[in-house]
Symmetry: C2
Subunit: 350 residues, 2 copies
DNA sequence: TTGAAAGCGCTAACAA
DNA sequence: TTGTTAGCGCTTTCAA
């Protein structure tokens, strides 16, 4: 078996087109200073020979690797896959990120790292060292982790931080959590609800706070009390505990907004056990809108996170940074949506 | 800004350990002909300096790329992501494939290619040329596509073919579709059913035929007729049409096995519309067991495909092939499982 | 068992 | 606008 090598290389193209390697390289990379007819000739040869640049070689020659890493929380991601609950965070990231990478000759590589471990630095260095990605997409809680941020910055890697506004390197992309919470609350107020509870997300996620803020603002505007706030950490058990505490209040809520689908499902089931009908006696709105929200009965009214759109923007921004330095530094904002379904209705009459 | 370069390279390690580059390379690749104490010294330096080999450079040097491609059908995958129906085929592949790759210093890269297009060859050549993967994991219907198989073989790339036994290059991994169908049918027979229908999958999937075979075999063994076979192509609409035709039979089924979750859901809903209760009047079993099967009401008894396990084996086999030539060539078989849930019960009494 | 040399395919820096 | 040169970090020869 012959040693495996690139069938057709930049040399073949150069020879075929009768130009130097460098000219071919310039054409491939859309660089200036190539006469149009020259470029055309080179492109002709590229197509005729079926030439495709080898990413590894491009990496070796120059600075760019044309690789972008999507960093996700290891345990959470694996648990989601194993439980097969249909949580599609990763899929939506791939949908936006992979396809966008593809359009630019980049590749997206998914990488899982332990969040709460002391060897996170070593893990990350392993991926960085082996791949040398041009950029990294960080999701919460990684996107606000100073160890990770610092490490990436020291390596000169572009950083896209989803769901974090903490000052630091890289640029932020947020999904309008505050407005989304406000929108959800307003929807309930418009239906006639006066007692609206919120189950918060884990406190180490910045977006948890934003949701509380939006909920508070909407209530304040309507002159309603914001005493119905219960802590949660996104998972089912915490949702159940929160529902319990909210519904045990002296003046209980007629509607509850949960900061995750799992907590919303927990609330739904707990309410049923207490003999409450949804939505007749209790309205429920969830955050995330993973498939489970749609499969519930009734289907849950939910805040739809534009994950794919945000991933697309993250990739585009990272790629743009490779060519240009002075890009706008303000956070990118993509509005969330509210999908109104069967779990919300006017409150019961007194 | 300085030109981005590998912070610590093999040279640094060699200098630190006082050996040649070559010796370090040998240690990294676990090659023979290195004295233990020498290897130990090198490993010490590697750890101390935090050295990680750059995959791109390893590729350039020759040898392996340490990259494995997971090829999926482009349209189908994107549609699944966009519809957010919770189909988690890709996730399960990642679960098995990515984690296994990680354990061996490999990376798994997901790649989507158009199935029914004439430029499939060009698309695939693009991915192959850019990445030069050591192996490719093929899923149906790619796994039986002669154009793809031939192309990969010509490039000397290891091929893992999931769900195909068609002769050709590469090695096969199958998920026991025949046995699974037999198991599902037996389950229904044990419950007392005598009229058991099957909605087949798309005919261009080999596994569709295997399922029919298994169903037939079980029926034959029990002395039952196998006239209740309806064609389908995995999607909702075809499931609905099939349910319609089966239930319109003179002697209609009391149980239906659908070759996909979507077709099972369609059957469930169609039966309801006809006033049939599930499982009291009609039992239903589905194939795949994506989350939708569990979220249905009643939750569907379903054949669970061991996708993650198969992906794991595919990766391991591809990696093994890189080092060794004479590996067993028989198809790898991973048994599917039957998750018994609320959609199956004894047939109604006459 | 070890090391020195050559080269993988490409790009950056420089010269023409 | 184009071409030449010198690497990038690693592995494969091959020689010691």
């Amino acid at each position: 078996m012959p040693r495996r090598r690139q069938a057709v290389t930049i040399k073949h193209v150069a020879a075929d087109a009768g130009v130097s390697l460098q000219t071919v390289s310039r054409v491939i990379n859309n660089e200036p200073n190539v006469r149009p007819e020259m470029a055309e000739r080179v492109r002709g040869s590229i197509n005729r020979l079926g030439y495709v640049p080898l990413i590894a070689a491009q990496r070796m020659g120059g600075s760019k690797s044309r690789l972008i890493l999507a960093l996700n929380d290891r345990d959470r991601t694996i648990a989601g896959w194993q439980n097969r609950e249909g949580t599609d965070w990763v899929d939506q990231m791939l949908l936006g990120g992979m396809l966008t990478c593809g359009r630019h000759g980049y590749r997206l590589i998914l990488e899982l790292v332990d969040t709460h471990s002391d060897h996170i630095e070593r893990e990350l260095l392993g991926a960085i060292g082996a791949l040398r990605p041009d950029g990294v997409i960080l999701t919460p809680p990684h996107s606000q982790d100073p160890v990770i941020l610092d490490l990436l910055e020291r390596h000169g890697i572009s950083i896209a931080r989803i769901g974090s506004l903490t000052p630091g390197p890289g640029f932020s992309l947020i999904m309008g959590d505050e407005d989304a919470a406000r929108m959800a609350t307003d929807h309930l107020i418009a239906l006639g609800h006066r007692r609206i509870g919120l189950i918060a997300g884990a406190t180490d996620y910045e977006l948890s706070g934003w949701r509380v803020t939006g909920w508070r603002a909407a209530l304040a505007e309507a002159g309603l009390a914001d005493d119905l706030l219960a802590p949660g950490n996104f998972d089912y058990a915490s949702g159940r505990a929160a529902a319990n505490s909210l519904l045990a209040a002296a003046d209980p809520p007629t509607a509850i907004i949960a900061s995750s689908d799992q907590m919303a499902i927990a609330t739904l089931e707990y309410a049923r056990e207490r003999g409450l009908r949804v939505p007749e006696d209790l309205s429920i709105i969830s955050f995330d809108d993973t498939p489970v929200a749609r499969f519930a009965s009734p289907p849950l009214t939910a805040v739809v996170q534009p994950i794919a759109a945000v991933a697309t923007l993250a990739v585009e921004r990272i790629i743009a940074e490779q060519a240009q330095d002075d890009l706008p530094t303000e956070p990118v904002y993509v509005a969330a949506d509210l999908a109104v379904r069967g779990s919300t209705a006017p409150p019961p009459r007194r």
